[in-house]
Structure formats: structure tokens, C-alpha cells
Symmetry: C2
Subunit: 466 residues, 2 copies
């Protein structure tokens, strides 16, 4: 198991544990509840999000337990009763989880993941579940935006050095790869997840040789078929480019092939055009142009608009931290409560617009026509199509339920999906989303309708509570 | 050892390893170099930063090595020669590190940490070192800004659920605590680092009981001396406050004491004033007011300006992700190179203003007068005061060198400082920084001068290179 996923029992806010003791002491250990995880808006006003972190949540929930040392620590903070600590020491997550498959395209106010279990276990897992899904979904979404902007050029993730800690870097690499990046600079991510790794040399390499040419020669000698020359240390279009061309020609004479040149400063659009022209003139049209330096989906869009011949974008800080909006505001809300005999729907009514929640256990039904997503219907869990809320429903539309049984009574239902298969799923999902929902600027909102029954259910409960 | 710090050999960008093979294959394994880590500007145009992550770097550097599985993985990616892999399998960091003590207040362009060792080992550690120091310094700095803004009120860190992964949350808790927060909601941070943990209940607790009053009663029964009642689930100034007052009075009659009430929505300034007045009228002036909900140093400043009687600020996302500027741009640059017989100074000359570097190994000398910092002098490593660059130098000013030997020939020089002692150091450091450098809006830049010799050294090298 990944070290990040092991030993997760204490990965929680204190109040989850104090509430658990409260429920337990109030004789409510056998009361059950359903909670759902959703977010209220997409990052950076984008048209969609890519759900990620689900598989890691399943791994944690099906393996976590309090160790003797955990219990000892909890005893030391003088909040918990001995009998409750003894209960905790035997606690395992025994509930059910339904979730969208890792890599599914999702929208605001949709339940990405639902936990049904005892009040106690559902509180226990809240924080770790939000932590995991919020961050991985945030980065997968950011990466997808960049990958879409760059097409047909590709994006490599370079963010470890400015990521939020080692795991911030590692999970950013993973989420970026499954969302369509072609690889990462992060060796640990390659080792752990089998993600392709990329990189050649830094300015320090060039500076540690008497001349740039000697630095390129030494590198080419060590990696004759895997060199990408960084050409902006001294004078990009002067010695940088001409040294790279000279070394590449020499490599070619010996039957080798330079991979590319890298630009890391200056006007990347203008420089890439000048470099492309020179490289082509020198018969080096196979040599790729890699660009890096504070790149994000917005600058990629500008470079495209200017027809900059950049083949590969190396994206660091802006991707690995989701710089412009570095947190996804996913929340975890109770939708139903079981006390004794009956499930009772729960909703939060808020005077803040958009902060009220939808009651009851649900299903998301996604409608596809001719391969393309045409809209979703949010329905009660026991409903089935047709719903008669999307006009497209009549015309050969196929409905797919998105929430699948993922954990049943504490046991994993299916093995986690291999990362390459998740990556294929994301590619299919994003390609199935019509383009007007994918653009960065003012995307058309994707239709998510409530079923008639869910609406009635909500209105009825609202009347009762308000 | 903390799991985050173990097994760090692959926590690096691929290009560090390819450069290492390049140096090695070019017969340069015995060439040495000095590198320094510094940042070019403070986050959010603040007046200072709090250096953190240094002690963790020392732990990683003095313990990291490639395992058999690491080597097998590196073999599988077909970039490395067998003889180089065999070299790696025996590699340990054997270099020297000088660094400022954990928790030191630092400024732009100052070397926070210096690595001197073989070219190969210095490249190996670059990425993990930047990852660790960039993130922890970022959060310690953000936390210090919030703690300063809140004084004499206190700040508790609540960010785990939206932090960038589990380690993002954990290190954010640690960095926040050492920078002056009084605690965290994160149980794992309490367990690992002994940080005080805080928290009571969520809206879900209230909603799981038929009435708010029953929810408060049940909580008070379980935690008669440790209750903070969340009063905004239904109607803050209506039933919320009056239920909290009623339960608190009952607790008081039984000899117990309510800790506080918590506000999590609405106009926190207006609500806190109304609550304070009612609580005082009810004889509950010891009951504290806790406020949370997207709080940061800017809103804290506003609440203070409006004299909001908030005793404790619970700060989540904005602190744990350093929301407004979620990455510190620390870099790692070569300052000297040793080939064969002599140390040769190195500097990067850039046409971008502020991107040129300062050559040579250095020392930061901090001048104090009457306990207050009056300015720093950046000097060559072998220099000593007086420097004759700060006018205060004559008048009983004391100079302290900030960079201390931290690792010598691969061995830790001193045991890491206990977290409470680091916290005391930060408090002393920040209190010693005159107020005009601490304010959020347009702080006066702190004086950092170059010594005459460093200036001459730089100018001379510049002439030679330009």
C-alpha cells in the first residue's frame, strides 16, 4: 500500500472524534446516516471537473484502524473516556460507499461519493475523504484544462520543487497524468505509479562547464538519443540555438537523434518561432521545442493563438498547486438519518443562496446521444429513467447511472482501476463533453436537472422544515 | 523518523539524476560545488518570511539512500548505465550544510541554506530541499501574518479537509504552530508533533438531533468542561445563542464551565458583538467567541478595526494552502565551483532585473540594537564585522551570524530543535522585527546591505563575465 494511504485513522479533525464520543455516549452507536460529498462550484469558473482520489479513499476506508499508539495518544489528550477508547481500538469502517468511477467528469452539486454507515464511522472518515478527493480532483481538473488548451501539443508536469510538500507533489503528478499529461519530472511518481518521467538538464549543468558548447557536448555524449538542450542560459537565439544545432548535426552524423531544445525564459512565442525556423533550415525538423516558465492554461491559449510552434509544455507551480485557486471546496453533508426503524431525509436550509442541500440518497443519470453527453438527471436512488426532464430523452438517448457500489459492508467491491485505464476513461469522458462546456472563458453551463420526484421530495421537506 | 522524511532518495526531478550521470560519465565525480537556497520576494509583498523546513531537510539528507527497489526502477526506465546505477546504490550525502536555524525571520535574496559537496550530491538533493523549505516557509510565513493580525486574540489552524493532500495538511499544521498558532484541528499533527488539538462539533451534530437544544445538551453531558457550541445552524442570534446561554447556565449551576460559542457564517463582526453583549448580560463573560469561515489575515484585520470581540480565529483553507499565493519561489543556485585545485566563484547574469545571483559562499550578519533588528549585512563567508555599511554599526550594535554549521561531512551537527523551542524562537524573532516591517499593507522594506567586499567581488566577476 502507498505510505500515504496507510495508517490513516488519525487523519481527521478532533471534532469528528468528539462527536463520535458524543453519539456513542448518547446511546446512538447504532444510528445510521447517509452523507454525500459534493462541491458547489468548479475551480476558476470552469465548465467541468474531473473526479479523482476516489480509489485512494476506498483503499484507506477498507484498511484503517486505530493502533495501540494511536489510542495511547488519544488517552493523553484527556478528551476521551476509557470505554470509548476501547470501542475505538476495535473500530473498522463497516459501511457502504457508492461513488463515481475515478476520472469521471462531474459537475457542481452532484454527489461524487456517498457514505452510508453508522453515524460514528461516517464522521470518522469525513476529513480524510474530503482531503483526498478535494486535492486530487482539484489537480486533475487543472491538468485537464491545460491538456485541452495545449492539444495537439502535450503537457508534462514539472511541479515537485514548489508543490505543497512531498505528497502534494506526488499526488499532483498522479492526478495530472490521469487527466492527460504525458508524464512528470517527479522520479518518485514514476517509481510509485509507473508514470513516464521526463527531464534532461538545468542551467546549473551549463554553468558548471567552461562553455555552453562543452556542456551540450558532454550531455550528448552521455545521452546521445535522449538529449533536450536547454538553450537560454546565455543567449537563446545566439550561441544557445547555434550550439544546439551544431551538436544535433554531429549527433545525426553518428546516427543519433536529438530529442529537443528547451526554452525557459523570454517571449516563448517569438523565441519558439525563431527556433523552429532555424531548426527546420538546418534539417532538424524532428527536434521538438519544449517550453517552460510559469506556464498555465491561459498562457498556453495565448501561445496557440499566436501559432507558437511549441510541441511540449513543461508546467510546474501553476499545475502542481492549482495556483490560481489552490483548493476545491468539496463538502460532506448528511442526506438521510436512520434512527430505530425508518430512514428520514435530511437537508440543510440556508439563507445563503446555493447553500441549501438536497435531501435523500440519490443517483446521477448521465444522458448520452451519439456518444456526446447531453445532460444529467439527479434523481432519488430508487428511480429509473425515463425522467421526462431533458428534451433529448425521447431520441435514442442512453442513460448511465454514475454512482456505483464501491464498498459494501466495509469490503472493497472491485479492485482499483489501473492508472492507464483511468487515463483512458478521462480522455473518453472529456471528449464526450461538448466543446462549449470545455472552453476556459465563459463555458456554457452543462445541464444538470433534478428529477420530478427529487424536486417534489425536496419541496415537501422544505415545507415541513421552514 | 516521520514517514514523510523516510525513503526520500527518489524525491527528485529526473534531470537531477541525468545530470548526475552526465557529471559522473564526464569524469567529474570529484568536482565540488556550493549552492544556496534563497527566494527573490516574500509572499503577498509581505515584509518578512519565517524560514521553516530546515530541520526536516537535515533529517532527510543525513539518512537518504537508494534501495534495491529504487535501483531496479531506475534501471527499468532505460536512462542509466549499469556502472552509474552501481555508484548510486552506494551513494550517501557526504557534504556540508550551513543554514539559518529553523524559525529564523529571513528576507529576499538571503541564503537560507547552503549545500557544499560534490556536484553529484548537490544536484541529487536540490528538488527535495526546495520542496520542503518552500512549502514550510510559505505556511509559517502565512501563519505568522495571521497571528500578528489577530493579537491578542489567537489563531487555530483548521485546514486539513482542503489542504493539498494529507502531508500538505500535516506540514501546514506544524508550520502554523511553530509560527504562533495555538493549535490545530488535525489529530495526526497532534499525534506526530505534540501540537495542541482543538475542536468540538459540526453542523451535522446539531442536525442529527431533533432540536438544537437537545444537541447542545447531549454534547454538554459528554464534555461538561470542554464544550464550544456551534450556534449558527438555524438562527444564530435567535435559538442558537439562547440555547447556548441556557445550556451554559445549567452547566455553571453544576460547577462546570462552557468553553465557548462558535460562529461559522454571516457577518462575524456584527454577530460577535451581539453575542458578547448577550453572554456578558447572562453572566457568561468567561465564555469565549470562536469565529471561522474563510478567514485570513485581511479579514482578521477588518474584524479588529471594527472591534469585533472574537477571541479565537479558526482558520482553514486560506492558511493551509496559503490561498492567495500558494507557492514560495525559492531557488537553488550555484555560487562556487571547485575543479582540481581552486574554488572559483559562480554567478548567473540575467537581463531580467533581479534575476542575477551573487557569487561566492556567504554569511548573513544580523544587527541588533536594544533587542531590535536594525538591518542585515550579506558578506563573504570569511568576513567579520564591522562592515561599515549600516549607520547603526557604531552605536553598541551587536552582530550575529545567521548561517550555522548544520551538516558536516554528511553528519548532523546538532539534534533538531524541539518544536516548542522553535516556536519560542519565532516569537522572539518576530517581536524583534520593528513593527513597520510587519504590517500587511506596504511594509517598509527591511535593510539588507551587501558588504563592501561582497560588492567588489560581484562587480569584479561581472566585469569578467559580461
Amino acid at each position: 500500500m502507498d505510505p500515504e494511504l496507510a495508517d490513516a485513522a488519525l487523519r481527521t479533525d478532533v471534532y469528528e472524534l468528539t462527536m463520535m464520543q458524543g453519539f456513542w455516549a448518547s446511546g446512538r452507536s447504532s444510528d445510521a446516516a447517509s452523507y454525500e460529498l459534493f462541491f458547489r462550484r468548479t475551480p476558476e469558473h470552469g465548465g467541468y471537473a474531473v473526479a479523482a482520489g476516489i480509489d485512494d479513499v476506498v483503499t484507506m476506508l477498507t484498511s484503517m484502524s486505530f493502533s495501540g499508539e494511536h489510542i495511547e495518544y488519544l488517552r493523553s489528550i484527556r478528551l476521551f473516556r476509557e470505554d470509548f477508547l476501547s470501542y475505538l481500538s476495535k473500530l473498522r469502517f463497516q459501511g457502504d460507499v457508492r461513488a463515481v468511477p475515478e476520472g469521471t467528469v462531474v459537475f457542481p452539486n452532484q454527489p461524487i461519493l456517498e457514505v452510508t454507515g453508522s453515524l460514528l464511522e461516517a464522521q470518522w472518515v469525513e476529513t480524510l475523504l474530503l482531503n483526498c478527493v478535494n486535492f486530487q480532483t482539484l489537480i486533475a481538473t487543472k491538468a485537464s484544462r491545460m491538456v485541452e488548451a495545449a492539444k495537439p501539443s502535450t503537457v508534462v508536469e514539472f511541479g515537485l520543487r514548489r508543490a505543497q510538500g512531498p505528497n502534494g507533489g506526488l499526488w499532483a503528478s498522479k492526478a495530472s497524468y490521469l487527466a492527460g499529461c504525458v508524464g512528470t519530472s517527479n522520479v518518485e511518481a514514476g517509481y510509485r505509479f509507473g508514470i513516464p518521467v521526463f527531464g534532461t538538464h538545468a542551467h546549473s549543468w551549463i554553468m558548471s562547464f567552461p562553455t555552453e558548447r562543452e556542456a551540450f557536448d558532454a550531455y550528448a555524449k552521455t545521452f546521445p538519443d535522449q538529449s533536450t538542450f536547454l538553450i537560454d542560459t546565455y543567449d537563446t537565439l545566439g550561441q544557445g540555438l547555434s550550439n544546439a544545432i551544431a551538436v544535433s548535426k554531429e549527433l545525426a552524423r553518428k546516427g543519433h537523434q536529438t530529442r529537443g531544445i528547451r526554452l525557459d525564459s523570454g517571449d516563448l512565442a517569438a523565441l519558439s518561432k525563431a527556433c523552429r525556423a532555424e531548426l527546420d533550415r538546418a534539417g532538424l525538423s524532428d527536434v521538438k521545442i519544449v517550453a517552460s516558465s510559469d506556464i498555465d492554461e491561459y498562457s498556453i491559449t495565448e501561445f496557440k493563438r499566436q501559432s507558437a510552434p511549441i510541441d511540449i509544455y513543461g508546467v510546474g507551480t501553476r499545475l502542481a498547486t492549482a495556483y490560481q485557486e489552490p483548493a476545491l471546496g468539496g463538502v460532506y453533508k448528511m442526506t438521510a438519518l436512520y434512527q430505530g426503524t425508518d430512514w428520514e431525509p435530511k437537508m440543510k436550509i440556508s439563507s445563503t443562496p446555493g447553500k441549501s442541500t438536497l435531501p435523500g440518497r440519490k443517483q446521477i443519470w448521465r444522458a448520452r446521444r451519439e456518444g456526446q453527453f447531453v445532460g444529467d438527471v439527479l434523481a432519488l436512488a430508487q428511480e429509473n429513467p425515463p425522467f421526462d426532464v431533458l428534451e433529448e430523452e425521447r431520441n435514442g438517448t442512453e442513460f448511465e447511472p454514475l454512482l456505483k457500489d464501491t464498498i459494501a459492508k466495509g469490503e472493497r467491491v472491485e479492485e482499483p482501476t489501473a492508472i492507464e485505464a483511468v487515463r483512458d476513461r478521462v480522455a473518453d469522458q472529456v471528449a464526450s463533453l461538448p466543446k462549449e462546456h470545455r472552453r476556459l472563458a465563459d463555458p456554457t453551463p452543462y445541464r444538470v436537472e433534478l428529477s420530478h420526484r427529487l424536486k417534489a421530495y425536496r419541496d415537501e421537506l422544505f415545507e415541513k422544515l421552514a
